[in-house]
Amino acid sequence: MIGAITAGLFGTGVAASTNSYESIATVTVGAGGSSSITFSSIPSTYKHLQIRAMEAYSGTGFNPKVTFNSDTGANYSWHYVLGNGSAASASAAASQSFMYINSNVAFPIPTVHIIDILDYSNTNKNKTMRTLDGFDTNGSGSGGYAVLWSGAWYNTAAINTITIANGTFAQYSSFALYGIKG
């Protein structure tokens, strides 16, 4: 059965650290896949967040969409510069209801993402994120992409929830959220 996965953080403490990079929560998709990945109740005690993911689709391929604090209004924009193995291209969109990350492929080939969300708990500024992601298929299908993304959320609220959704993430897809102290 396809479900949605939420990694809640209620009642969890942060262990004493010896450095500034800490694991907050991890979601690994089980049998049947998942239609969305949600990190909720994200503590505001870090300076920046990073999501490191390895994922693939189940069924039909799609571009994962990222939203903050369950805001589905037209409050986002995004840009990308992309290499598809033969040419570089770029695009952008304003007044969007989400921010994209790169399209995915089917296992056993994973797409990987490194998403940085900067100053996520600062209530004096809108929020920006950047993503480095891509995949390679050894020339089959689309062949692969290497992509640099930027995204903006036009809201000064502290980010406490991150949702990544669109199609169905396949079993074994894994999303790990980390906090970086300032």
């Binding site: 990079y21 929560a25 992309l82 296992f107 390679d136 020339g139 692969g144 290497a146 992509v147």
Partner: protein, 170 residues
């Protein structure tokens, strides 16, 4: 759930003399991701830094890259190669410090192929100066327990640094 510090150095080296390759072996499987940071110069001006996992020298690797040279952006692909690459559209210099940071994600799982993604910066001095993002595939489901890093056709010069980190998710 929150688990405290998790970005840990596994091994590091500074080459005392020029070397064609360096191997990180017996990599523990206890982390989620690996991050390799390399920096330095190469004996060949316009060099690629390459990787092989678990001693696999067969043509089980491929990569797609996006790069900018300062005047244009471009993309390319190499399929069925005998190595993954930390750079290809741009290149390491024999005179100026270049660097690359590569993330090898979920390296220890035995279900999926392995994909790594790198960013590199190669300043003036190389015949192929610029900046690049490059994603490489290894078509094997084996857990990665060793990484050989090598210079494409020459040596990594003395002073070249290679540091391997492990990131452990909750």
């Amino acid at each position: 759930m929150a688990a405290g510090s998790t970005y840990t150095p596994i091994a590091t080296t500074t080459l005392g003399s020029a070397a064609a390759s360096y191997t990180f072996s017996s990599i523990p499987s206890t982390y989620t991701d690996l991050v390799l940071v390399v920096a330095g110069t190469t004996s060949v001006n316009g060099e690629a830094i390459l990787m092989q996992y678990n001693g696999d020298t067969a043509t089980n690797y491929s990569f797609t890259y996006l790069y900018g040279t300062g005047s244009a952006a471009a993309s390319g692909r190499q399929s069925s190669r005998a190595y993954a690459a930390l750079n290809w559209g741009t290149a390491f210099s024999s005179t100026e410090q270049s660097n690359a940071i590569v993330s090898i994600q979920n390296y220890a799982n035995s279900t999926t192929y392995k994909t790594c993604i790198a960013r590199n910066n190669n300043p003036n001095g190389s015949s192929l100066a610029g900046t690049e993002a490059i994603v490489s595939l290894w078509r094997s489901t084996a857990a990665i327990n060793s990484i050989l890093v090598k210079s494409g056709s020459g040596n990594m010069n003395a002073g070249f640094t290679l540091t391997l980190y492990g990131i452990q998710a909750a």
